[in-house]
Symmetry: C2
Subunit: 220 residues, 2 copies
């Protein structure tokens, strides 16, 4: 009776308890995002979100400590899926190729995933909101560091024993999230004309190339 939203969750083994918990969390996060995009950040109170998810305001706070955290929860999960995706990729694939592909898989427009046009439009509005709204940006950044641990771990696995406790994985993970953030910004400020992927690839190529200062350029 609590929540009716159905998510395409992969039910592994956990009981009803945990399932409902996740559903509630997802419903709250989704409601937060939807309402904020619709009415604007400041015109949504915690109570509104709770109401939209059919729980008490107090319960909202059992799941999220702030509105912003609820809104950014989706982004955090996306980053964690990047880590999963990376883990699932063939080990012989070059690291940065694998990274680009993993990131790309999570940041493509749903248009490519055979959703309706309305879905794509909604997706775009949401990205814009998340990237644009200052109050959210901070939370997105927190989500980034929260995901960096996972990312670093996967990267370390790929590198093998060497560099397990090296700086490499941590720095690489931080760079990955930094690149994602920058690309989203850039893509948005260009007016989200085309797909993100080209930008993403370009950015990661810069990283993989070590930011060549002088390429085929004469003069400075």
């Amino acid at each position: 009776m609590r929540v009716s939203q159905e998510v395409n969750a992969v039910e592994t083994d956990i009981g009803l308890r945990e399932r409902k918990r996740r559903e509630t969390r997802a419903a709250l996060s989704l409601a937060a995002l939807r309402l904020c995009v619709q009415r604007g950040w400041k015109n949504v109170r915690v109570d509104d979100i709770a109401a939209a998810a059919n729980v008490s305001p107090r319960t909202f706070r059992n799941y999220f400590s702030t509105k912003a955290e609820a809104v950014a929860a989706g982004h955090l999960e996306r980053l964690l899926r990047v880590a999963d995706e990376l883990r699932a990729r063939p080990a012989n694939e070059p690291l940065w190729t694998a990274i680009v592909n993993s990131v790309a898989a999570q940041f493509e427009s749903p248009v490519q995933k055979s959703e309706t046009l309305a879905d794509a439009k909604r997706w775009l509005e949401r990205i814009r909101f998340v990237v644009t709204e200052p109050a959210i940006r901070g939370e997105v950044l927190k989500a980034s560091v929260a995901a960096q641990g996972e990312l670093a771990e996967v990267i370390a696995e790929r590198l093998g024993a060497r560099g397990a406790q090296d700086l490499y994985p941590q720095v690489a993970a931080a760079v990955v999230t930094a690149v994602i953030g920058t690309v989203m910004d850039r893509w948005m400020s260009d007016g989200p004309s085309g797909p993100i992927l080209p930008l993403l690839r370009e950015a990661f190529e810069l990283v993989a190339a070590g930011f060549p200062e002088s390429q085929a350029k004469a003069g400075k």
Copy 2:
């Protein structure tokens, strides 16, 4: 009568008005940091900070919207000084060398700057607090993006006309702040034994080398 804290401010040309404004801001930020390190994040109210800086609580909010922002203000300014430093460096210096040096100049322990031992200890406590306290971490990240614009601009200048509106400067700036954050984390979790510089250099070498996946690089 408002503020008595004296900062080693370089008075350029601005009038008394602007000077007092900056002093007040600095006093508030400093008081916030000092009190929080001393008493712990949750045991400091905005009112306490305002009182410590001899202003009304409402005035505090004219300068900072949250406690966290006040505490992180110092970090933001440090990042901006990195940009300044970078701008001041010889143009013939390789980009990433210049960056490392600029960052290093702002993140060295004050021990090297002939301060007293007590100062060094205080500096360390503060860094630890800023890196450790979750509530602050988020704000530090916000400061990072806030500074990225400046950094990107300077980097673009160094690159010359080419790539002015390229991704390069923005991605590079984001990477710089990401590296700084990671290094601070790492340095702190290692128990701040030695100086930060070696870690910083190691991290930036990774970046400049394009994160070589396979290499016989076991040494630092």
